[in-house]
Symmetry: C2
């Protein structure tokens, strides 16, 4: 088996099993792992490491590591290591239920970071020394070059910065991925940074392979396992309505001459609403679209196939098993249209701003003035993290945030007087959409934003109380730039905590 | 007099007095004016306009305009027009006491915008149509090219976008400014944007003059008046201590290899603390410094003179009368070392990130987790605006926020449980400094940030209560990622509103 995927003789000598490789990761190490939205994460070494940790912990020996990744991974990595209390500190993004619980119980440290900041901060030494990298690849060439797998994320950075590198060669990844990647090797620390010469989503500016000095590679582990591959679910009614409002808005913007007929490069988060938007685009009037985004989910492949989407740039896939099969079957078609890049390029403010990306992201809640909370439930409990939403929202041509107007079967209004945590400030949020409607906040001062958000986005069950809050705040005799009743501003959240309803 | 400054015969025919020029600005217009931090704003037309408005208002006739500028201006512009209730809507930044009062009384609309967003949004049409531009220049060449004055700000954009242009030629501006400017004409709307080829603070990538088709120029008004020129005051004790902590930190970073010996290009706000930092640098060990900032204040000139600062890039001056005299006297020296650029370049995320700027900005308050409020007093009343602080903080190599630990003679703690408005999120704030000390938040999860901010930055009078809040929040049984007591989080602000003390 290794004959096909590990062509470099020197590195073949490093082949070992996952337990042996995991033994090379010392307790207390800072470990950079591959993985982005459940794609391209190492499948065997983290589980072997978790088993070792459990054994150590059973004997009262401390055995934990800090884990740096691209973004979220999967149960085999975050779940397995969190389960055994093996993660001291985690960065920069996670979405694992076990991790989330440990973090919110104060048993695991988590730093939530803009995805575009991670590589530069790591290079600058702000996180300390990276000891080991554990990276999934799709294969190793005869010259020892590494064929990236279904995500690139921070792999280039981890390989460059770590003293020692452990590779997982996953035979389950399509061999046809080879040639889809574009690894940019032109970044540097200031004062040596140069312009990033990317001017279109499909342009290639880098190299096909990841490079690593072979003497750094201390282990090669073979696996054959699919990415997490969560099932695709048909968009629900609320998502379809959100998508409908957004597509109508795009049409109006095209008519007004504020968007080209083929829009601008699209960025979209993953999940139900994003799928609905992509489905809407598949049925909509726009042709020759492009995407410059983090993650390619099922809907992006369908759009490429239908010809509506001309090309797509991302740092990772996040596909259902069906879509994954389709990708493998038509890999030549997709390779001509898809570029996978390091996340420092997919999320780079310079490039996002230059391309004029249309940023479309989910949120937990928005407030009257357009501040958005993407990360915290009731101000204290982390959900996932900010991910790349700030990179895209701040630098995009348009920044759109979307959510159903209620959560938990109507108990929670996602439009609140004041958000309980701010990830995107009023300065960075242009368009808020719920199934109720779309609030276009561009060029509006705060009080007009409030009226528009209440009227267009709030659920009718909460609208009167939001209006009442806003009117009383406006009559309170306090400042009228951003009227608030400080003693009530967070009372909706407090009420939810106490009664289970806002 | 005009013979020296207005060399273009065609434009000399457009010379008129300020009243006649003001009469060309229709009520209800969107007007783009020059001006950035009290430099280079039109000195005569706004006052003439204010007089007309007052007369109209006395007769019960509506006469207001919307004003877009670079940043803050001066009493002759913002003050005069606000005084007569002549401003319908103001963007993107102001710091005028009369404006501030009207905004906070709900009698003037204000949109507070990242300075780097203004030109792109205006070009995209997000603010509507720009009708008239009123721009101060230092002179007009024989070919009708415009010599910029003591600030550039958004002047290029306003001139390009407006239907009609009114020029104020200010004989009071040093003629030697000619040649100091670098007006970049390479911006575009997506999908046509190209990399901005700037790789060093002193590099010139643009043109010496502003261009305007002469047929758009409907009036030329001559003035002879200095910029606002606020007096320079010696840094106070708190500012000197803040500067001291910061300079110590820089030295440690150089020793640790995380900063070059000549640091990286410096950005600094204006005011007391900024002056103290510059004074500290003048006495400090760092040589061959550079600045890539918005505004050059007195301290920057001194640093250039002493040779410590090799070169400086900005979009405006903000000088005391003494420093202004010095600038005029040694204009050739300064012209070799200073570049003034449009604010879309001085504040461009692409360039700030590439250069690795050290961003140092003032703030109103910070909270336990490193969220920063730069704009709102007690959550509702605007102070000035976010200005360029977000452009620099998000994209800089280091983002530093500074404030004395108390305000209003100790009645207010500038370190609070939760900020009453967020302009810079926990994801964007690395270093918090007060006269008490410096909290280095890099690589720290939220609860460790809290401990460090309380210990290093809070005033001893408030430290025990902050610690108490944090400990009770941590024991509350709610989420431990970002512990908060929602019913108390804003109570310090509420208490201040009710009792005059936090
Ligand atoms: C904000 C975010 C969590 C929304 O996720 P989603 O899958 O689109 O939305 P859902 O409606 O399914 O909500 C997810 C969960 O949050 C809950 N939720 C949503 N809004 C809530 C609110 N205001 N208060 C409390 N809980 C809320 C939902 O009930 C659901 O809970 P469950 O998992 O227990 O059923 C997600 O978009 C995210 O993590 N964003 C930040 C990162 C990002 O934007 N990445 C995009 C690409 S860069
Ligand atoms: C935040 C900011 C207002 C601080 O200004 P400063 O001049 O450095 O600070 P000062 O300590 O003199 O404070 C200014 C005023 O705010 C008040 N203030 C400061 N902190 C306060 C707080 N936490 N609560 C209430 N008032 C506060 C001061 O008392 C003072 O009031 P006064 O004018 O009535 O005396 C100013 O830096 C700013 O506008 N920043 C945003 C824009 C920006 O960062 N631009 C920089 C370049 S891009």
């Amino acid at each position: 088996m290794s004959a096909q995927r590990i062509l470099c003789p020197r590195l073949r000598q490093r082949i070992m099993d996952a337990d042996a490789a995991a033994a090379l990761i010392p307790a207390g190490a800072n470990v950079g792992m591959s993985g982005f939205t459940g794609a391209g994460y190492p499948k065997a070494v983290p589980q072997a490491l978790a088993a070792r940790m459990r054994a150590h912990h059973d004997h009262g020996e401390a055995d934990r590591i800090s884990i740096w990744t691209g973004a979220s991974t999967a149960p085999e990595l975050d779940g397995a290591l969190a389960e055994v209390d093996g993660i001291e500190l985690r960065l920069p993004y996670q979405s694992d239920p076990v991790c989330r619980q440990k973090i919110n119980e104060g048993r695991m440290e988590y730093i939530d970071i803009h995805l575009s900041h991670v590589a530069p901060y790591a290079w600058a030494g702000f996180f300390g020394k990276l000891d080991v990298a554990v990276i999934e690849v799709a294969g190793i060439t005869e010259q020892g070059e590494l064929i990236p797998s279904s995500s690139i994320g921070n792999n280039k950075t981890w390989i460059d910065l770590a003293d020692r590198v452990i590779l997982e060669v996953n035979h389950g990844q399509s061999a046809g991925l080879d040639g889809m990647h574009d690894v940019y090797y032109g970044t540097a620390l200031p004062p040596h940074r140069q312009p990033i010469p990317l001017t279109g989503p499909q342009q290639r500016i880098g190299e096909r392979y990841l490079h690593c000095p072979p003497e750094k590679i201390i282990a090669v582990v073979e696996t054959n396992a699919p990415d997490r591959n969560s099932r695709f679910s048909e968009p629900d009614e609320a998502s379809r309505r959100i998508a409908g409002h957004l597509l109508e808005f795009f049409s109006r913007e095209v008519d007004a001459g504020r968007l080209p007929a083929n829009l601008l490069p699209l960025q979209s988060g993953v999940g139900n609403i994003a799928n609905a938007v992509l489905a809407g685009l598949a049925d909509g009037p726009f042709e020759n679209l492009t995407a410059y985004t983090e993650v390619l989910q099922d809907g992006m492949l369908s759009l490429l196939k239908s010809g509506k989407l001309a090309s797509a740039s991302a740092t990772a896939f996040s596909l259902s098993p069906d879509a994954n099969r389709d990708l493998a079957e038509h890999i030549d078609f997709y390779r001509d249209r898809i570029v996978l890049r390091p996340q420092e390029i997919s999320n780079h403010p310079e490039v996002i701003r230059r391309l004029g990306v249309i940023a479309m992201n989910g949120m937990i809640e928005a407030d009257l003035y357009g501040n958005v909370n993407s990360t915290h439930v009731m101000g204290t409990r982390i959900m996932n993290g900010i991910g790349g939403s700030g990179d895209f929202a701040r630098n995009g041509y348009l920044s759109v945030f979307m959510t159903p107007s209620t959560a938990k079967e109507g108990a929670i209004s996602t439009i609140v007087p004041m958000v309980s945590h701010v990830d995107h400030t009023e300065h960075d949020v242009q368009i808020v959409v719920t199934e109720q409607g779309l609030a276009d906040l561009r060029g509006l001062p705060p009080r007009e934003r409030a009226r528009r958000i209440i009227e267009h986005c709030a659920h009718p069950d909460f609208r009167p109380r939001l209006l009442d809050y806003f009117e009383r705040a406006s009559a309170s005799g306090r400042g009228l730039h951003t009227p608030h009743l400080l003693s009530e501003a967070l009372s909706w959240h407090e009420r939810y905590e106490q009664t289970g309803r806002m």
